[in-house]
Amino acid sequence: MAYQCTISGFTYRFNDLKELLAKASPLRSGDVLAGITAESYEERVAAQMCLADLPLTTFLNEAVIPYETDDVTRLIIDTHNKLAFAPISHFTAGDLRDWLLSDEADAVTLQQLAPGLTPEMVAAVSKLMRNQDLILVAKKCEVVTRFRNTIGLRGHLSVRLQPNHPIDDMKGIAASMIDGLLYGSGDAMIGINPATDSPAATSRLLHMIDEIRERFAIPTQSCVLSHITTTVQLIQQQVPVDLVFQSIAGTEKANASFGVTLPILQEAYEAGLSLKRGTLGNNLMYFETGQGSALSSGANHNVDQQTCEVRAYAVARQYKPFLVNSVVGFIGPEYLFDGKQIIRAGLEDHFCGKLMGLPMGMDICYTNHAQADQDDMDTLLTILGVAGINFIMGVPGADDIMLNYQSTSFHDALYLRRVLDLRPAPEFGEWLLRQGIMDQQGNRLSDGSQKQFYSALLPA
């Protein structure tokens, strides 16, 4: 179905919903690369005006990727909760934007609404929002998850400790782990990107983290980010798997390029549950996403990259994840060119994920060929903190020596906790106190009590 909008006597025509969404999307290099952006500034605003007037029911009647050819579309349509949608079924996308910002929309109402929202509705409303709107509404959402501790409580900020090493050297990884723990990071999880996908290497790493975690009674969870089929294999061998990781995307074909299908995800989720390793809760899936992944595998179906990204969140929420991480700037400048585009995408992803009901965190990051630097990351870090992000990455000195990109550091996390008065996950915060690593105010201590900790792990 075609849509149109007239401005100063000129009528802009949009052939279908996906074209309208793409042209309404704030400018980013990935959509330019895909050849689907608005051709002028005016056309972009015309598309946004047209989108604002679109009834939300349109999104239920017109799929951006056909139901018959894409299992993510089928998932979205088949799991849509009409009861949750009913209170807003008479809204346009623009009405939804205004209502989300209103005082009527509070945390509880938003939680009830989430199952009634499709990713395309959420993507559409984000395209109508300024950055401050994305921050304000995201801050209203509270998504709390539990495994061995509690993540996402208001006023708390957690950190994934990411102690990567180029050749998975055990001592090298342990050294970065200790550094991070002594800087108060690691409550979201201790998560390693392995250099190879070998089951044996993954198993060794999982045993190593598990041993340290048990020895010091650290209330956290671990993950080695191997392919999900490798993880399932390890679960069957009774290897201590806490969180089950997979990269996912918003189309069937893009997921296929990651070597994953919805049934594989379901099987892995059930395998993870079978281990019963969570002590406080059963959220155990860990998903990574990122704008541009569908286009990079030639699987975007001419849908804009931000809409594709939100469709990935529809996949994620099926499996009640513990953490969802948008690795926003990792993909490179052909998708998000500079700091401005990365910052906008970061705010969109966090907002859309939260509105869909997901425990959103972010790898606030960039590669060296993007026009971005640590100042841009400071900006995004700070505003995501204001927006109430559940967790960020903690990489030694923000420099990942395995993946060769820059993220956020243990120091960055302490900065954010300090300027916004945020605390670690409560169980982890108590552990930091008991260990003499931090005081009540979140100041790092240096009273010698750490020595036992690190010298015990790596005797000189």
Partner: protein, 253 residues
Amino acid sequence: MNELKKTDTDADEWSSLKAYTNARIALGRTGVSIPLRESLQFKLAHAHAKDAVYSQLNLPDLQASLSASGLPIHSVRSQAENRDTYLQRPDLGRLLDDTSTAKLQQLAGSPVDICLIIADGLSATAVMQNAGTVVNLLVEKIRQAGYSLAPIILVEQGRVAIMDAIGGLLHPRLAIILIGERPGLSSFDSMGAYITYAPQPGLTDERRNCISNIRDQGLPPAMAVDKLMYLIHAAFRLQLTGVALKDNDGLLG
């Protein structure tokens, strides 16, 4: 107010752990923030990486460094006109511009076994530092093995897959491209090598084999050449490259 004491920003007590990793650990702190010393070290590494991304091939110097190979050398350009276009339009970096296409059409002649291509990629610095040594060693070994060689092709603003466009015009049985890799903070001068059997437009990356991190502090040029020779022999024997060409000799570890 009394004279203020300078802030102690020494490395953390566990700095002995630095022996186990090159990661930036035990950095010390002022308050909860990173000491200036470490902040500037980070900025310097990032500056090197950015400079490498925007570095350009110095064609006369590069040609001089390749002269020992004794091969004719031709330079071409991709359709990406400048670095910012190159960074945002990888598709253009995979295609030859019209002048270059015409140039290579004229070069096409009797069939050859191997065509060596050198492209700036994401770090011309890496290429300027490593390509000469690798090519001269490699040409010597290729000749000893009895394979024939096409002229060397230098590419500005080139991506890996431009080897397919070049292959489609020169029709070598096999092409090798040496190309600057995306700079990391600890390595802004890493060169990669990709090898493709029967290169032609339309191939995808699973049809190639790759050797990465070629530089003195990474995979030294002599070892890189040994690995390339292993791949060349295997590719001609199996008449393919890519995922089906496995590292059975453990040479590509």
